[in-house]
């Protein structure tokens, strides 16, 4: 009886899978299919996102211009006749508008293009920004007065949309801002080679423009604002975050207080970002009276928001350094600080960098807290991070806006051309994020290759 086999199952061949194995294999195949389906859905979502954003936004990097000669008559642009830019600045854009309209009409006449539109209707084909463009050129170079210049004039948003396929003859019928006649004329001009659609540097460098002139709106101020904020976040959050993590991870005694701090840091990472906006509004603007909408305040708020992310990432990468390295250093007579700075920190650096850049990327895309501290303002002036001419608090920076906030405010505007602009701004934002991730990868490689 002691030789009884444990199982009384009948002997079976290895070639025939039993029911249990078949079931198990099926479950395994099923699970793999779920995984592939999940990845497929993710990739599909990404493709849809990219296609829609690129489809909508790429056209904002191209802009339609019409070129014709303009005579800058002295009595119009320089009534005093002394070529002094200060005096000439008294002539506003309204002074340039008739000049421009007349030149456009004259150009059509010279080209022999017949049209029954009046001057006003013709001028409406050009951007409202065009007179300002010419005025800027004249003020920058007073020698132009009296000359006839061959200028590339920004065309109106609807005309631009017509060449990009957004506006059609049918939609123009129902549109109070453009008439089919204007579009036909634009087409004739284009056929004669007077209209050019070229790369739009102004989209990247120019400041925002008002709601009625989407063709002139650019991201210049937003990019500078975002850049300054990233600078503030990097300068503040990286050292504070790394120092805090090193202390908590390596030096702090394990007691109830440090447990409490730890839990709170994890909680802070999950606090909705708008709460940080309210905090920034209350502390930095109302209490400390820093300038509203300045990139410095934005940077401070984003620093608070990014700190938990950096601390958590840094602590994780410090913890991942094998304790044997610390012991080796201590065993050689290194002090705790030496063992951390000579051995642990360099090993943890790639992780810390990745965490920091993820935190920065998160901060770069953050909108809600910035709305609360007034960074949604319409800003035409290029800001300084530290400005001496600010009113309340010296060195506190001019007002600015930020990329995601610019996207937000453009989507609020009624002109459909801003949809294109907003998508274009998202592309710029994504390019920024890609660049940051690329830097993270490169730095990682560099640091890892050193050992």
């Amino acid at each position: 009886m002691t030789d009884m086999p444990i199982s009384t199952a009948p002997k079976r061949s290895l070639f025939a899978a039993d029911a249990r194995t078949v079931r198990r294999n099926r479950a395994e195949r099923r699970f793999r299919a779920y995984g592939m389906a999940a990845v497929g859905v993710g990739i599909l979502a990404l493709i849809v996102l990219l296609v829609s954003i690129l489809g909508n936004g790429l056209s904002s990097f191209r802009q339609t211009y019409v070129s014709f000669p303009i005579e800058l008559t002295a009595e119009r642009v320089d009534p005093d006749g002394n070529r002094d830019p200060g005096e000439m600045a008294r002539v506003t854009t309204f002074g340039y508008l008739p000049l421009l309209a007349a030149a456009f009409e004259a150009h059509l006449d010279a080209e022999g293009i017949e049209t029954d539109m009046g001057v006003r209707e013709l001028a409406a084909m050009l951007s409202e920004e065009a007179p300002a463009q010419i005025r800027g050129m004249v003020l920058a170079n007073p020698d132009l007065v009296g000359q006839t210049i061959d200028a590339q004039i920004l065309m109106g948003g609807r005309i631009d949309g017509f060449f990009k396929g957004r506006v059609t003859m049918e939609s123009a019928e129902r549109d109070s801002n453009v008439t089919p006649a204007q579009l036909e004329l634009a087409q004739i001009l284009a056929d004669r080679g007077a209209v050019e659609t070229r790369f739009n540097w102004d989209f990247i460098t120019a400041p925002d423009a008002s709601g009625s002139r989407p063709e002139a709106a650019g991201l210049g101020v937003a990019i500078i604002g975002s850049f300054y904020m990233m600078l503030v976040v990097l300068v503040l959050a990286l050292p504070i975050g790394v120092a805090a993590s090193i202390y908590l991870e390596e030096f702090a005694p394990k007691n109830r207080l440090t447990d409490l701090i730890e839990v709170n840091i994890s909680n802070l990472a999950a606090v909705p970002s708008i709460v940080f906006g309210i905090l920034g509004l209350a502390v930095f603007i109302n209490f400390m009276e820093f300038n509203q909408s300045s990139p410095l305040v934005g940077g401070l708020v984003l620093t608070l928001m990014t700190l938990p992310t950096i601390i958590i990432a840094t602590r994780a990468s410090l913890r991942a350094v094998p304790p044997s390295i610390r012991q080796a250093a201590l065993g050689l007579g290194a002090s705790k600080t030496q063992s951390i700075f000579h051995h642990v920190l360099p090993l943890a650096a790639p992780g810390i960098l990745t965490g920091t850049i993820i935190g920065l990327a998160q901060a770069l895309g953050e909108t809600a807290p910035l709305l609360l501290i007034g960074m949604v303002a319409f800003v035409r002036e290029y800001p300084d991070l530290m400005s001496v001419h600010s009113n309340s608090f010296p060195l506190m920076g001019d007002g600015a806006t930020a990329l995601p906030v610019q996207v937000y405010s453009w989507t609020q505007r009624s002109d459909p051309a801003f949809v294109e602009r907003a998508s274009g701004a998202i592309i710029v934002l994504l390019v920024f994020l890609l660049c940051m991730n690329l830097i993270a990868i490169l730095l990682r490689r560099r640091f890892e290759r050193r050992w």
């Binding site: 012991q327 250093a329 050689l332 007579g333 002090s335």
Partner: protein, 288 residues
């Protein structure tokens, strides 16, 4: 002649005429507790507390200069813990408390005036698992001299590095690739590199915590040979699971069991004529 024979030969040579040198370190009435938290409770108080692990119980050990002392005993008997008492590595463990006196050349190393960092430069340590820094071989060895300011200039440092690597019997293998990462060496080479690193700070005592447990027999033989060599300059304390190893390399052997020091005597005597029945059972394989 096989490696084994070579070692046995070496052994016999060394064993002849071993005179016990002067006293290097002395431990008196050492108790170690884990999970004791901070505070200044007395040893009796902590020993009575069931929540506290009493890892080392009233251990007295004398470590002689220029001698290899081995600690043997079953797993968890406290031999590694006691080893770490000797260079205050236990200080880095949370909740670990130690009572009793340990002196290095008559100076109490647990005196509040003593900086453990300075102590560890004098009492070097080699760990169970080879743990070279992820830096070049040169930087690994140069690290200790650098932080202790032992080299006046670069040439000096290079000399210390070479001397240490030679002493650790690894110079010939690595002299052409000092810039290669230390982590790229084989396990045995890594352990010898770690020994070179420990030797480079010119310690007076070298503690080794199972230095061969992660190595193959050939690398083990090399390290054992090295330990024997080191004896001419340092006092070496080695923790080992292998009784054969203790018999091969050491002149003094301490047998630990359940946190107590059961027997401490000349290695020959421990392995041939132990006075305690527990020692006898352990070395004959009946307990452990």
């Amino acid at each position: 002649m096989s490696m084994e024979d070579a070692i046995m030969n070496d052994m016999t040579q060394i064993d002849q005429g071993v005179a016990v040198d002067e006293l290097k370190m002395q431990a008196r009435n050492v108790d170690v507790f884990y999970g004791a938290g901070g505070g200044t409770r007395s040893a009796e108080d902590m020993a009575a507390d069931k929540a506290i692990t009493h890892a080392i119980k009233h251990v007295d050990v004398d470590i002689a200069d220029k001698t290899v002392t081995s600690f043997i005993g079953p797993s968890g008997c406290g031999k590694s813990t006691f080893l770490r008492v000797l260079n205050r590595m236990n200080d880095t463990i949370d909740g670990c408390r130690m009572t009793g006196d340990v002196t290095l050349e008559g100076e109490n190393i647990y005196d509040p005036k003593v900086d453990p960092v300075q102590l560890r430069a004098k009492v070097g340590m080699v760990f169970q698992k080879p743990n070279p820094f992820p830096k070049s071989i040169f930087d690994n060895v140069a690290y200790g001299p650098r932080i202790h300011g032992l080299a006046r200039n670069k040439a000096d440092l290079a000399e210390i590095v070479e001397k240490s690597l030679r002493r650790a019997a690894i110079w010939d293998e690595v002299k052409d690739r000092l810039d290669a990462p230390g982590t790229g060496l084989s396990g045995g080479q890594q352990q010898r590199l770690c020994i070179a690193r420990a030797v480079a700070t010119s310690p007076e005592v070298l503690l080794m915590d199972e230095p061969c447990s992660a190595l193959d027999p050939i690398a083990t033989a090399q390290v054992e040979e090295l330990i024997d060599d080191l004896r001419s300059r340092f006092s070496v304390v080695i923790v080992t699971h292998s009784m054969q190893q203790a018999a091969r390399v050491s002149q003094k052997t301490a047998f630990f069991h359940l946190g107590e020091l059961v027997e401490f005597d000349d290695t020959d005597k421990i392995f041939t004529n132990p006075s305690d029945p527990r020692t006898e059972s352990y070395i004959t394989g009946r307990i452990g």
